[in-house]
């Protein structure tokens, strides 16, 4: 039977490009702090530069990421309402808590890390750990609890977004680490250079673990959506075809996840710094595109 909608109204896009960029930057910053905390708590001296590098990235990203969130508000001057008027069932309130607690503990941690006060920054790292985990997962809860869009309303979103945050953070750290290796280690001894090189290689191994997790989450999301409802199945298809398919399927999954995984897996190739740099750049772009495709792209589905 033929059916045609003759009149309907377009629905507003609730989550904008600014929000997807915010999600990306917040993920990178939160992931960097998790990486820095991990490097601190493992206690290996090799990882000390890594911890410091992560800390610098945290400061840089946190200094402007929340600005995007505030600009996107209809009433930007009321942003402080989010801090003082809580609603325990809203993930934005959880986020306000993490956004308030995170800079406080992260800055204390970073100050003492750079001062080298081990007895202070290690306990701070323990306190910062759950806050940083909340910081990178709450954005996943935001999309997961929005039932209007079937691509968002899946239970894997918080952990998927957290895993994506780790990939973006490790990719950034690896790129900065490689650039640092090229620029700053020229006058170092061969042993020091090798040690620095080993850290970069370990980072890429670490990245591959989260890239694999990401691939698993993409698969899980697709399976879940295709078997939950016709509407969700259509949204799942939408994510892999057309313009969104080009963004999500090609840039995020193929170039941003599968290719980096292959490069890290192939012996000898996985020690070419130039190739690793390019690969990690792809992974970084892949996560940005994934955030955009999921938060903005899937809103193209009709709702009513």
């Amino acid at each position: 039977m033929e059916m045609n909608v003759l009149y309907n109204v377009p629905h507003a896009f609730a989550l904008s490009d600014l929000i997807s960029t915010y999600f990306f930057l917040l993920g990178v910053g939160g992931g960097c702090s998790l990486l820095s905390i991990w490097a601190t708590l493992t206690g290996k001296t090799d990882y000390k530069p890594l911890a410091k590098l992560g800390a610098i990235a945290v400061v840089t990203l946190f200094s402007f990421a929340p600005t995007l969130l505030i600009i996107d508000l209809g009433q930007p001057l009321r942003f402080w309402f989010l801090m003082v008027r809580g609603n325990i069932t809203s993930p934005l309130t959880w986020g306000s808590f993490f956004l308030s607690a995170y800079p406080l503990f992260a800055s204390l941690y970073i100050i003492f890390l750079f001062l080298g006060k081990t007895k202070i920054y290690k306990p701070l790292a323990v306190v910062l750990l759950p806050i940083a985990i909340g910081y990178v997962t709450y954005i996943g809860f935001i999309v997961s609890m929005a039932i209007s869009t079937s691509a968002w309303n899946t239970p894997i979103m918080p952990i998927y977004f957290a895993s994506a945050a780790m990939v973006s953070a490790i990719a950034l750290m690896t790129m900065v680490g490689i650039a640092r290796h090229w620029i700053m280690t020229r006058k170092w001894s061969a042993e020091q250079r090798q040690s620095d090189f080993n850290i970069i290689i370990k980072l890429t191994r670490f990245a591959s673990l989260f890239l694999l997790l990401n691939l698993f989450f993409v698969f899980t999301q697709q399976v879940y959506m295709r078997f939950s409802s016709e509407w969700a199945a259509t949204a799942a298809e939408l994510m892999l075809k057309g313009k969104l398919g080009l963004n999500f399927g090609v840039f995020s999954v193929l170039l941003g996840t599968i290719i980096p995984l292959l490069v890290v897996a192939i012996p000898k190739v996985n020690k070419q710094l130039v190739l690793l740099f390019i690969t990690m750049f792809f992974a970084e772009v892949g996560i940005f595109v994934m955030r955009f495709a999921i938060t903005v792209g899937t809103q193209h589905m009709p709702i009513m």
């Binding site: 009149y7 942003f79 309402f81 409802s229 939408l238 969104l244």
Partner: protein, 214 residues
């Protein structure tokens, strides 16, 4: 909610709806709704093959859900539910984060392009206080819309619900809508039916931006 309190609901008899859009116009005029946004609108669909073609219409508005997801996710408690079941938005508390819009499965909320806070249908609560009916109900020329107190067994809405099979939009969302439809065709209630999806996806945002540019 105690049994003595009011519980407002609306019943739309789609067998009577002619798709004339009077409800949308009345709402726009009553609530000063800016161009390019709607508190209620009528979705119209043609269905069938010539010569057996029929036009279906579906007035859509906020369902003032019993289990309102917009209230749950509002970070500042600007969205709240009154004892009579109407979901309200406090404009002084709304920060315009648009999360309620993202959460609502019926796309019935919008950010006022001028005032920059969320708005939606609230069954013309200001008119109810004066003993009047919502503007759309009063304007409907075919009497398709009925509004009243579900807790009053003598009310028209209660009698319509008792005497007719009714449906709600997207019952699978678990939101327990308080707008009930008599004679709801499942295809018009389905967002994927009657839509050229590729065309829609291609132009969804452009159409919206185009309308805003006007």
């Amino acid at each position: 909610m105690s049994k003595t309190s009011k519980r407002y609901a609306m019943v739309v008899d789609l067998r009577k709806c002619t798709g004339c859009h009077t409800c949308s116009v009345a709402c726009k005029a009553e609530n000063d709704v800016p161009p390019a946004v709607w508190r209620n609108w009528v979705k119209i669909m043609e269905k069938g093959t010539y010569p057996d073609v029929r036009i279906y219409s579906l007035p859509v508005q906020c369902n003032n859900c019993e289990n309102a997801v917009c209230v749950k996710v509002c970070p500042t408690k600007a969205s709240y539910k009154r004892d009579d079941g109407i979901v309200m938005i406090d404009p002084h508390k709304c920060v315009g984060c648009k999360y309620c819009m993202a959460a609502c499965p019926y796309q019935v909320r919008y950010l006022n392009p001028v005032r920059k806070y969320a708005q939606k249908c609230y069954f013309c609560a200001h008119r109810l206080e004066q003993g009047l009916l919502p503007a759309c109900v009063e304007a409907c020329p075919s009497g398709a819309m009925t509004f009243g107190d579900l807790n009053d067994p003598a009310s028209d809405v209660a009698r319509l619900l008792i005497n007719n099979p009714t449906s709600v939009l997207k019952p699978e969302s678990g939101t327990k809508p308080q707008v009930f439809y008599i004679g709801l065709d499942k295809d018009i209630a389905d967002p994927l039916k009657g839509v050229d999806l590729d065309y829609y996806i291609e132009h969804a945002k452009d159409a919206l931006e185009g309308v805003y540019l006007l």
